[in-house]
Amino acid sequence: MRLPLLALLAKEPAHGYELKQALEVTFGSAYPSPNIGQIYVTLGRLEKDGFVRAVDVEQSNRPNKKVYYLTAAGREALETWVDEPTEGPRVRDEFFMKLVLAPLTGIADRMALVNRQRRHYLSLMRDLDALAERTDPENRVALLLIEGAMLHLQADLDWLQRCQEDLAL
């Protein structure tokens, strides 16, 4: 979460709660909403690393709030992040570990594992569809995030089928 926070702060200084809201509004309900504690912990670390600086702003009849600014070092870290290609798909897949290893121990058979996993993927897909239905059609970012998750799920399902063909018989 460090770099998304730096990116938001590059736009304008903000306090922790504003950053949380900005993430939620931008990415919609499909995005795993960060809790406020996580955000403050991350901001604290970014401050220690010199990427952001906090300024106390006085508020009438409330405690001061901390507003965070991006530093030059922060901007540099952000630029490096933006310029780098992002990691491709994972090769570590928990289900695949289960599929390969569990039958060796006699705990489960592969056909049953694949079948259960397929039903589970389909129920996740059903949830994504419902989520897309509930999402504001104007929120392109949120809808693209959901579509991305759907495409990943389709790929997982196709791969599951390959596993079943090659391993389960």
Partner: protein, 247 residues
């Protein structure tokens, strides 16, 4: 107990190509109740297309029985099947299969007219279906003037023209992009909620996830048959547990 809409018993299909028998379907039992939506999945070569074609009488079975709406169908002649399909079955294909030199309206009315309803009834049904599909304005167009998604919606309207007991579809979204897929899905969901019995073959998880029940084929046999479970949900509003971006 209600009569099942589909009942297949020990259904087998063996192709005889160049003297070598190639089994495509190796003993499938399937019962589908009225109002059920069943998705059939499986890798290519698993027999899923052959199976659904046999259910619609588009391919003969080698052995086994097919009962549609309480009527034995596997023993019918080609013309017997044609009559049964007209009365009870709508079929949607991956490549739409619309009649190219007829208008959209005529494509949709044709099955109803062949089925013996009056021209006025056929027109009313067509107007209703095209309206539901958002295609009223395209009624006078030729199929070739339509996008793939529109053509598939017309094909769906045609399949539903005779109020079939059973809607069969073979990869109905296989040739569509994701936006057009969404339109076709919306429509399938709608007719299903109205009680339409649907059996379709798909590799598309979005299509399959709409079904009540998923049947998985492997090597010509059923290896899984059951409902899609409900996922455990967090309290409403936070669906963050649904999406996990990997990477």
């Amino acid at each position: 107990m209600d009569t099942p809409v589909v009942k297949a018993t020990n259904l087998v299909k063996i192709y005889q190509t160049g003297g070598l028998p190639v089994p495509a379907v190796r003993g499938i039992d399937l019962t589908v109740r009225a109002g059920e939506f069943v998705a059939i999945m499986g890798p290519s070569g698993s027999g899923k297309s052959t199976f659904i074609h046999m259910l619609g009488g588009l391919e003969t079975r080698t052995s086994g029985e097919i009962w549609l709406d309480g009527k034995r169908a596997d023993t019918l002649s080609e013309s017997g099947w044609a009559v049964l399909r007209r009365q009870k079955v709508g079929f949607v294909f991956q490549f739409f299969n619309l009649v190219a030199n007829m208008t959209v309206a005529d494509n949709v009315e044709l099955p109803a007219l062949l089925g013996g309803v009056s021209p006025r009834q056929a027109r009313e049904r067509r107007e209703y279906l095209l309206g539901e599909l958002g295609l009223t304005e395209r009624a006078a167009a030729a199929p070739a003037q339509l996008s793939g998604g529109e053509q598939q919606r017309v094909a769906l309207a045609r399949a539903l023209a005779n109020h079939p007991r059973l809607l069969l579809a073979d990869e109905p979204t296989g040739n569509l992009d994701s936006r057009n897929t969404r339109d076709v899905l919306k429509l399938l969901g709608q007719v299903h909620r109205q009680g339409q019995t649907i059996v379709l073959v798909t590799h598309d998880a979005r299509v399959a996830s709409m079904a009540d029940r998923v049947v998985s084929l492997l090597d010509g046999q059923i290896v899984d048959d059951g409902a899609i479970p409900r996922t455990r949900r967090r309290p409403s509003g936070t669906a963050g547990d649904v999406v996990e971006l990997h990477g």
